[in-house]
């Protein structure tokens, strides 16, 4: 009993010596605003994905653009670069991500690095050995599992000159429909060089 009282007294004495409590609270609140404000706006924003209405999706790069057949009636998820696109099925159970990379010096090495990149982002991707032709491009197919979103599907990494295109199509495991066929999509890939582009 006496020991507990002594402990309480020590704590009270220690607490009494603490200064700047108000300043600490104010600074903590001000620091917290750095993420609370954007997070609150993010939570309050209605995120209705716009429908992707074009038949063909176009990805812009410095050397020109890459086109492919977009799945009908799908929605576009905002991305950060004009050289990549993320599309989602209306029920949001299937997804298609397509990205173009320029400046590839060694395509085989790029394929390995791309698979490693997918793995770093939480996917479990595995490259197949058979070569696949995809329109003007050629490369390899790979299988992909996304444990975090309980999705799986396939990917295609194809190249032409110093250009490479990565397609990843997934579907949630509880989805009625399978993921899109990346091989079929790959066959619709077309590279349009810009007027001043080198044409690769």
């Amino acid at each position: 009993m006496g020991r507990a009282r002594l402990g309480r007294t020590a704590i009270a004495r220690g607490w009494a010596q603490i200064r700047d409590v108000r300043a600490a609270v104010i600074i903590a609140v001000l620091f917290a605003l750095t993420w609370v404000v954007p997070a609150s706006i993010d939570a309050a924003t209605t995120k209705t994905l716009p429908e992707f209405t074009d038949d063909r999706a176009t990805l812009e790069i410095t050397a020109g653009s890459i086109e492919f057949d977009a799945p009908e009636g799908w929605l576009q998820v905002p991305g950060e670069s004009p050289s990549e696109i993320l599309l989602s099925s209306p029920d949001e159970k299937r997804r298609l991500w397509v990205s173009v990379t320029e400046g590839v010096e060694d395509f085989e090495r790029f394929e390995q690095r791309e698979v490693a990149k997918l793995n770093r982002r939480g996917a479990a991707a595995l490259l197949e050995t058979d070569t696949t032709e995809a329109g003007e491009f050629s490369g390899h197919r790979c299988s992909v599992i996304l444990p975090a979103s309980q999705s799986e599907g396939s990917c295609l990494i194809v190249g032409r000159g110093d250009l490479a295109v990565t397609l990843v199509a997934t579907a949630k495991t509880d989805s009625d429909s399978a993921a899109l066929d990346v091989r079929a999509l790959g066959k619709t890939l077309v590279f349009n060089p810009s007027d001043d582009g080198e044409g690769h």
Binding site: D20, A24, L30, W35, D42, T45, D106, R109, R113, R120
Partner: protein, 392 residues
């Protein structure tokens, strides 16, 4: 460690907040870096070393703006660590949230072009300014005047930039289609070369704004309303420069556009540095006249007057003598800064000349009497002048 640097404040809740925040921020940034370091530890170490060297170089440049040696080295170390941890960690979260909602508010195209300009300055400038404010509240005597706000702000900015550069360089390395090193060094080159016109400038200006807002205005006596107005203007300048840098404005001009923005930022930083140093000179001049011999006042006079003195010394003696004069001035600055930090008032007199040991007293004379010649030489020259006048 902070205890040994003289910055430990174990009775301050604010000190504990920062200590815990630095720890948590460090862990969070460490977690963000760990996949990159696992992939290529050697590259990671090299990037940290190079970015660290550039940070040291830029700190050296920033310290050139601290003409009157107002800095407290341990505080700069703490400011760097603070800038490298809490603001970077919180800004990462804030920027991610911003990138998530912005396309739905301003549209996909606009978000792609202007997203970095809209979210970056808002979260990053805010969190860095809060970090500087925390240091100002915790160490009021060490960040007591605008020039100290400038230097501490710049150092918080350098710390922020250090973490950001390491994160960006390693991420670019792993995302590069060809090799880790190629991607990392491309990013490192651009960020290192343009590093001086970035976070350290924005936060230096914000540091001055906070000093003004907190009434730590040195020789300026402004009403509270005017202080708020000036501080708001400086915050807007800091935010505006960051916004301009992140925006697509000028990118159409290629490298020229980027360099133009960098030069503009550095010019603004120089103007602010000159402004706050004039203030510091006025503070020290007033203080030095009260505590030391008036002969040393030239050390706190205008840049031109100091150049004139040094030029005279160089002409009449040699470069070594000019260096000795500069050294003696630095001693005066440090002495006065120490007294200001310890809260001494002008009444605590110093024996005139005691702090100028080893320096010819003649070279320390006040402006208008900047004759640095020894007595004998002066008499000889005067005689020559009289002789010359007689011949005319």
């Amino acid at each position: 460690m902070a205890h040994f640097l003289g910055l430990a404040r174990p009775h301050s809740a604010l000190w504990w907040l920062l200590a815990v925040g630095i720890g948590l921020g460090g862990i969070r940034i460490g977690l963000a870096l760990s996949p990159m370091l696992r992939e290529d530890l050697a590259l990671g170490a090299l990037v940290v070393l190079i970015v660290g060297l550039f940070a040291a170089l830029y700190l050296r440049v920033v310290l050139c703006a601290d003409i009157f040696h107002s800095r407290f080295a341990a505080l700069l170390f703490a400011a760097f660590i603070l800038g490298a941890s809490i603001p970077t960690w919180l800004s990462l979260i804030g920027n991610n949230a911003g990138a998530s909602f912005l396309p739905f508010v301003v549209g996909q195209e606009t978000a792609m072009d202007w997203g970095a300009a809209l979210t970056g300055p808002a979260t990053e400038e805010w969190s860095k300014a809060v970090a500087v404010a925390a240091l100002m509240l915790l160490y009021p005597r060490l960040v007591a005047r605008p020039v100290q706000g400038f230097i501490v702000g710049a150092t918080v900015g350098l710390g922020f930039q250090f973490t950001e550069d390491v994160l960006y360089a390693l991420a670019s390395g792993l995302d590069n289609p060809n090799s880790n090193a190629a991607g990392a060094f491309e990013t490192l080159f651009v960020r290192a070369v343009l590093g001086l016109s970035s976070h350290c400038v924005y936060t230096a200006i914000a540091g001055v704004a906070l000093a003004v807002l907190f009434g730590r205005t040195g020789a300026w006596s402004w009403s509270p309303a005017r202080r708020v107005l000036i501080a708001t203007g400086l915050f807007a300048l800091s935010f505006g420069l960051h916004f301009l840098w992140n925006s697509p404005i000028g990118l159409g001009w290629g490298l020229g556009g980027i360099l133009l923005k960098a030069v503009l930022t550095i010019v603004v930083a120089l103007l602010v540095a000159v402004w706050v140093n004039r203030n510091e000179a006025a503070v020290l001049r007033g203080f030095s006249v009260a505590i030391a011999s008036p002969e040393v006042a030239v050390a706190f006079s205008s840049w031109r007057a100091r150049r004139r003195v040094l030029s005279t010394v160089r002409k009449d003696y040699d470069r070594a003598a000019a260096a000795r004069v500069r050294k003696s001035w630095r001693q005066h600055y440090r002495l006065l800064q120490e007294k200001l930090r310890s809260g001494e008032v002008p009444g605590d007199a110093v024996t005139p000349g005691a702090e100028t040991e080893g320096v010819p007293a003649q070279v320390l004379e006040v402006e208008g009497q900047t004759d640095a010649r020894p007595e004998e030489k002066r008499k000889h020259d005067d005689a020559k002048d009289v002789h010359g006048q007689q011949h005319q």
